[in-house]
Symmetry: C2
């Protein structure tokens, strides 16, 4: 009888345990968790704080009893593992009934992460909360229970931070969001984060970027929060969401190979440096079998953890090289793209693959595309605009990463980009994607096709571009040609720009040539479409014209006070 | 100056014309259309009939004037081309101002299709309408204008037929839908079409399958419709939507190579057998450069036509082998998957790639997967179930086709499948797809991942299956084991089945072994999940057990009167 011990009873660990039982009816499978709950919906916690998920019980997907009945698992809560003895293949457990040791043939190690703790004094104040476990959620709700109005400070504008902001605002909180980075949702590129920032402000959230918390002290039971700017805030509640760090002290003691951030290094089969121990989730960093074998940093997201739990059980029980591997090399090298999505009030923000910062750090030569298509045919009621930023390799046209902020249809298109990334598709491939179209659901040229068309235009020279981040330099050296209508320009123009509506460009070429007076022409409109037509006309007339990628809608991300419609 | 003549001013033709202008500011570009409108939203017509798109003008995306102003196109409506002279590279046009000839360097030929006319007498009756052009839509609306109640017969349950049914029902029509095939939406597999059929009936539509119309005659101004069943219906309105056929008489006269259904044969660059003539859309059939070079039948859908129009202009003006081709072979062989989606009242039905009929006809050895996941995490409010049928190649695990019927999230997942098909992904690849997850948008194991997990289980032997279509045979030769709860079984069971809830299977193995008495065990539950667990327990105990793919929810498609919850 195979003895399988699983450390960690959420996401990866529980997926592995359930799959192991389905593969081996006779194995002994013991699941240990140091907390009081297993298999709880950790991604649902903020939505119970808000009240959107009314029942606390619905977050508790399973209990040790239901897991016993359905899957014959021996689940032990409040049981902390204090030692892994790899030589003897035993672990030491500190549980409700004392300390004991357990032998394993296979150890599935999914300990997760712990909250990263910034150097802030006063984090032990009663107003300071985290939102990663059911007891932490309970404590946070207890703090605001019965208050119809309260002041809250959320520290950290990542996924959980934004979900906490939304939840607290729904409950009546006046929320201040403090973020150390230059913009909210740091994994997004700046021009995309700008949309999220505006949405937060629209709903009354005070957003402080480039700011950290220095100290928290008591103010008659409330918290006095001192910021790096010197400002002091008083808050009934402080939520810390400043990221996570792998919880791997046990692995370190056991001598398992560790990588970036002390995460456990695993291969494509989720094997650690010990062939009898598999790891996954927030605590693990995968050695990529694609490319140069680099170890990537841990990706603390629920979906890969769940998938990897299942895979680890397959590898452990079916063996490496088993039938399930016969098909494809790709199966050996899952590519974690960090695909993620978050709802922020009426907006949805999503991302997959590399962002600009990563590409620049790695020195990857790329072009960037900005488009603002509607989620479905404009003539069908209810179309909503989305903002897409996508990066493509300059030499090969391969998609490198994409981000979308918008309303309806964002999840749809980010999933298409994520699938395309896994398949290493190029702009040409994306241009040919045969996606579902009927007026309520899409456009004959889907937003993903449109992104690819623009990428082709840039990559193959049909559309020379300039980027919003270079506005200052461009305004100095080029003639800025604004091809929006005169009415649109009434709301503001780039200083020094010449306005000629795009339908008049053909007839006024000489006027433009004279105004340019040898300078290149920096064309723009609101979204980049009309200015693309104008750029083609100018280029066709022998002028050096370039189009502002994404138009004024993207420029708004650079200078929020100046944004076209 | 390059002379480009475009025949057909919608979808493919207009996409080609617009792209041609953007590529060549100086070309002469003339667009001819035999109808009064160009660039109209043909996919939107049913939604103006229903009133959901209130403004008729919003369907007319462009006029010759706006196309002149924006793109300097010379658009001539009510202008029919009567002859293509390939030797002289001229065409003969019959327009409002008489007959004349035009020379071309490149001819873009996008004539579209005409309605397929079944052998029905009386199609000239005033009550008989089509819904493919703006004038046809106007005529149809005029027929029902002012009536708050009316009887309608829709002939043909394809995409436009279903959209017409929905529109007429919205307008107060009592609708009978007549379909020659054994089920509505014939491109779907039967078990998926069943959901659409139920939805139609739920909204009061009378659905007659395996039925055709023999004759239409007059009944005091209304139509008397005689069906193949002998039944006669009286209707104020008959809508014909029995498919389309390529409109290629002109191409035939000109001696262009024709393929299936007399469609114009084109290559991956949209070139016809004449290097100066490009074709696309409903009238064209592409020679696949993947595989054995077969010519596929025409795919009369708007999205490929639009994309191919752009591609044809690229090929004509940038040349074959230009910069835009340098990246990928895939660019040479767009793979039209027939991805399609349709809204039917509260349901959405979508498909991509091959269905069971095609696979069986082509003799492709495959396995089929049925799953019924929710569009997002079940603990988050508003989750809606979707029904997925997917086919995978038995030997390689490659995805061959997928269909989804459900509510929210259908477009999202069909697009992922379509992207995966283009990339020739396998079940293993799909299992590793890194898709967007947060509770409002998905699940940690996305519906696409779940489909792949089940495919892996079938392909690699963890889950032997039986299929609903074999029910009769299975009930004769196997012990049917129903592992739903006793309460669920109160609403009906397969005759002769043994009910043992899945959580009791482990303890009652011997009872099951005795009942089977040497027969194999045909396990099932409602959706296939609990019975999968039970199957694994039985197999783990040495019994020959197989799981009903998709559970009773799929069985319902075989026998609608017997369906589990």
């Amino acid at each position: 009888m195979t003895k399988i011990v699983v450390i960690g009873g959420v996401a990866g660990g529980m997926s592995a345990a359930a799959r192991a039982r389905r593969l081996d009816e006779n194995a002994s499978i013991i699941v240990l968790d140091k907390g009081p709950y297993v298999s709880f919906a950790n991604c649902g916690l903020p939505y119970h704080v808000s009240g959107e998920i009314p029942s606390r019980d619905s977050l508790l997907l399973h209990t040790p009893d239901t897991l016993k009945a359905q899957l014959n698992l021996d689940v032990r809560v409040n049981s902390e593992v204090t030692r892994i003895d790899r030589e003897d293949k035993t672990i030491t457990v500190n549980g409700p009934e004392g300390t004991y040791s357990l032998a394993y043939d296979t150890l599935i190690y999914s300990p997760g992460s712990k909250a990263a703790t910034p150097p802030v004094t006063g984090l032990d104040h009663a107003s300071v909360h985290w939102l990663r476990t059911v007891p932490e959620m309970d404590g946070l709700i207890a703090r605001i229970e019965g208050r119809s109005e309260f002041d809250a400070v959320v520290v950290g504008a990542g996924f959980i931070g934004l979900e906490a902001v939304e939840a607290l605002a729904h409950r009546g909180g006046n929320v201040t969001l403090v973020e150390f980075a230059p913009h909210v949702l740091p994994p997004l590129d700046a021009e995309q984060a700008e949309w999220v920032d505006r949405e937060l402000r629209k709903y009354g959230v005070r957003v402080l970027t480039c700011t950290s918390v220095d100290a928290i002290s008591d103010a008659d039971g409330a918290a006095r929060v001192r910021l790096s700017s010197g400002e002091e805030l008083t808050a009934d509640l402080v939520v810390m969401s400043t990221g996570v760090t792998p919880d791997t002290a046990l692995a370190k003691d056991a001598g398992l190979e560790l990588g970036p951030r002390d995460a456990i290094v695993i291969d494509g089969y989720l094997r650690t440096s010990d062939p009898h121990i598999f790891a996954m989730g927030d605590a693990a960093a995968m050695r990529q079998e694609i490319g140069d074998g680099d170890v990537i940093a841990p990706v603390p997201l629920a979906a890969p953890a769940n998938r990897h739990g299942r895979r680890a059980a397959d590898a452990a029980l079916l063996g490496i090289g088993a039938a399930s591997d016969r098909v494809a090399d790709s199966h050996k090298a899952p590519r974690v793209l960090g695909t993620a999505i978050v709802r922020v009030f009426g907006l949805t923000a999503a991302m997959t693959g590399a962002n600009r910062r990563t590409l620049n750090t790695q020195g990857v030569d790329h072009v960037t595309v900005h488009v603002h298509p509607a989620d479905h045919a404009g003539y069908f009621p209810g179309a909503q605009q989305m903002h897409i930023t996508a990066h493509f390799a300059k030499e090969t046209g391969e998609l490198l990463g994409a981000q979308i902020v918008g309303g309806a249809g964002v999840a749809n298109r980010i999933n298409v980009f994520a699938t395309a990334l896994k398949a290493k598709m190029t702009a040409n491939d994306l241009a040919d994607l045969d996606l579902a179209y009927a007026p309520p659901f899409g456009s004959a040229k889907d937003p993903v096709n449109m992104t690819a068309f623009v990428a082709q235009n840039i990559l193959f020279g049909q559309m020379p571009v300039w980027y919003a981040e270079d506005l200052e330099k461009v305004a100095r050296e080029a003639l800025v040609l604004d091809v929006r209508s005169a009415a649109e320009c009434d709301n503001g123009m780039i200083p020094g720009a010449l306005n000629i509506p795009h339908t008049e460009v053909r007839d006024r070429i000489e006027e433009i040539r004279e105004a340019a007076n040898g300078r290149w022409i920096a064309v723009h409109c609101a979204s980049g479409v009309r200015s693309y037509l104008a750029t083609r006309i100018l280029v066709g007339n022998g002028l050096d014209a370039r189009n502002l990628s994404g138009g004024a809608l993207t420029l708004g991300g650079v200078d929020p006070d100046w944004a076209g419609s």
